[in-house]
């Protein structure tokens, strides 16, 4: 793909939507598990760690795919500040997709916890135990999780804004299935 194409590649769209579901699930599991003392706390925590590591791997794959295939250009008619906001928010989303799982893993390592995933998979420690560092990473994991959710809401609102109001093909570029306008010539 190159800047002339109107849509992300199938692989990119598949990764985008698969990970969107996974990341939203992670955020809900995260706030759900830390607000319960019921037996489900343990399976939720295990799911959280496991899915989080899967997301880390998918995010790295996705970044590589992005370097190879690029992205469709935003519509020429889009105001420059809006384009800047779109680009910055995408950097932010990539940073959080990779940063959040690393923070989770590092936080447990610094807290001298074993990092055990579903099926008894044990990850090595990322950092030597350090209580102060544990606390810092924990606070970062929690606050960035809320920032991540806020950014996703903004991103969702922007996506729908493109789809319903601007109707400029930006939403279609990432839409999971081809819309009615698939194949129309780019307007720009």
């Amino acid at each position: 793909m190159n800047a002339q194409s109107t849509r992300f590649t199938v692989l990119q769209r598949a990764l985008h939507w698969l990970m969107a579901v996974g990341i939203l699930a992670m955020l809900f599991i995260g706030v759900g598990m830390v607000s319960t003392v019921m037996p489900k706390y343990l399976p939720l925590l295990e799911a959280h760690k496991t899915l989080g590591i899967v997301i880390l791997l998918l995010a790295l794959l996705r970044l590589a795919v992005r370097f190879v295939y690029g992205a469709p250009a935003l519509p020429a008619a889009m105001p420059a500040p809006m384009k800047l906001a779109a680009h910055l928010s995408h950097y932010g989303l990539y940073a959080l997709m990779i940063g959040m799982p690393l923070l989770g893993w590092a936080m447990l390592s610094a807290g001298a916890y074993p990092v055990v995933l579903y099926g008894g998979i044990r990850l090595p420690s990322l950092l030597p135990p350090n209580a102060g560092l544990h606390a810092l990473l924990w606070q970062a994991h929690v606050w960035l999780a809320f920032a991540f959710f806020a950014l996703i809401l903004l991103h969702l609102a922007a996506g729908l804004f493109h789809a319903l109001i601007r109707r400029d093909g930006v939403f279609e570029s990432m839409a999971p299935i081809a819309g009615p306008r698939e194949g129309t010539t780019p307007a720009e």
Binding site: V34, G120, L160, L164, T184
Partner: protein, 358 residues
């Protein structure tokens, strides 16, 4: 890119309302899941907060079992435990141990004789996997469920003079514990206390069969049971001074006894001891050979979360380990975040001081 005609302004307003609605619904679902809209939900912050004494928690310290002292040593496994669990720790061999003797109080400076419950935090590392446990000396837990534990904490801190009466009426199991607390002697040394898992765990053996197990570390030292008054005469910090001196003289030992439930035994309720005569297995010996002050000892920054288990041991239908894991994580997060408040500079306790680097 594909373009289509812009919507009419009425349709645009409709779309904006729709977008706002989608965002609000997502934010609402998130807040609901996180319990922000359900103040009645028993959350880890609430449960841990309820442990705090009226003057507030001791910052930088464990929110419960705050007074304690570290040790290191080994677990000498005799191989017998392998009949119940395939965990590496039950294969014959010596495995390194980090632990902590402690008192069940949220006050790190509580005089020893004012605390009824004593605890043992333990980590055994075998085959690259850790087994963490936190055990206490009573033979059963005061209450049957985590919710009841919260109710007990609330009642005991309540200003209502009838709060405890009401709690006891609603939780008959508490009387059994109160009976123990009122009659059991105080041992003169941590080395003479038995420490019990109370919670049941599922052990899986090499053939894949599972067994519901509770365990105890039984002291090999001669017991010296004292009345509360005689124990109080030994001084407010007797236990830490004594164990440091005792271990400096000779390693101290406990036998690990695994007890297997019979079908129908209450595995989900730690307030009920299992009847006598259950199958039991002596799996090895805990040897404590060095005691160190908590403030720069190896146990301070460890969370002895009882759900951190090796392959071959898992949680059972007992609801406590999950609740404890959630609460201990909260306590650990808080106390590590408060590291500035932890008294690193306080003088070491006199006896343990000798084993501590300046």
């Amino acid at each position: 890119m594909a373009q289509s005609p812009p919507p009419t302004s009425r349709a645009a307003i409709g779309s904006l309302v729709l977008i706002a609605g989608v965002v609000a619904a997502a934010a609402g679902a998130f807040a609901y899941t996180g319990g922000f809209l359900s103040p009645e939900r028993l959350t880890p912050p609430k449960l841990v907060g309820a442990l705090a004494p009226p003057g507030g928690p001791a910052l930088g310290h464990r929110r419960n079992h705050a007074k304690g002292i570290c040790f290191t040593g080994s677990f000498q496994s005799n191989g017998q435990g392998a009949a119940l669990s395939k965990a590496q720790v039950f294969a014959k061999g010596d495995y390194p141990v980090v632990g902590r003797f402690n008192l069940g109080t949220p006050d790190p400076n509580a005089p020893d004789a004012t605390v009824r419950v004593r605890g043992l935090g333990l980590q055994i590392t075998a085959g690259g996997q850790v087994w963490r446990a936190a055990m206490i000396d009573p033979p059963f837990f005061p209450v049957a469920t985590p919710d009841a534990f919260y109710a007990l904490l609330e009642a005991s801190h309540s200003k209502d003079p009838d709060a405890m009466k009401g709690f006891i009426a609603g939780h008959p199991e508490f009387a059994t514990f109160a009976g123990w607390a009122g009659s059991a002697p105080f041992m003169a040394s941590y080395a003479q206390d038995a420490f019990n898992s109370l919670n049941a765990f599922l052990f899986t053996d090499a053939a894949g069969a599972t067994h519901a197990v509770r365990w105890s570390y039984r002291p090999q030292a001669q017991p010296e049971p004292l009345s509360p008054a005689d124990f109080a005469k030994l001084g407010p910090n007797h236990l830490e001074t004594e164990i440091a001196e005792r271990v400096a003289g000779a390693p101290q030992r406990w036998t690990l006894v695994l007890t297997v439930a019979d079908p129908g035994d209450p595995t989900a309720d730690p307030s009920k001891a299992w009847p006598e005569g259950r199958r039991s297995v002596e799996a090895g010996t805990l040897v404590v050979d060095k005691v160190e002050d908590e403030r720069d000892g190896p146990c301070r920054d460890i969370n002895f979360d009882p759900t951190l288990l090796p392959d071959g041991i898992a949680v059972s239908d007992d609801p406590f380990p999950a609740a404890r894991s959630a609460a201990y994580a909260r306590s650990y997060n808080l106390r590590t975040a408060e590291w500035k408040d932890y008294p690193y500079q306080a003088p070491a306790s006199p006896a343990a001081g000798s084993t501590v680097q300046p």
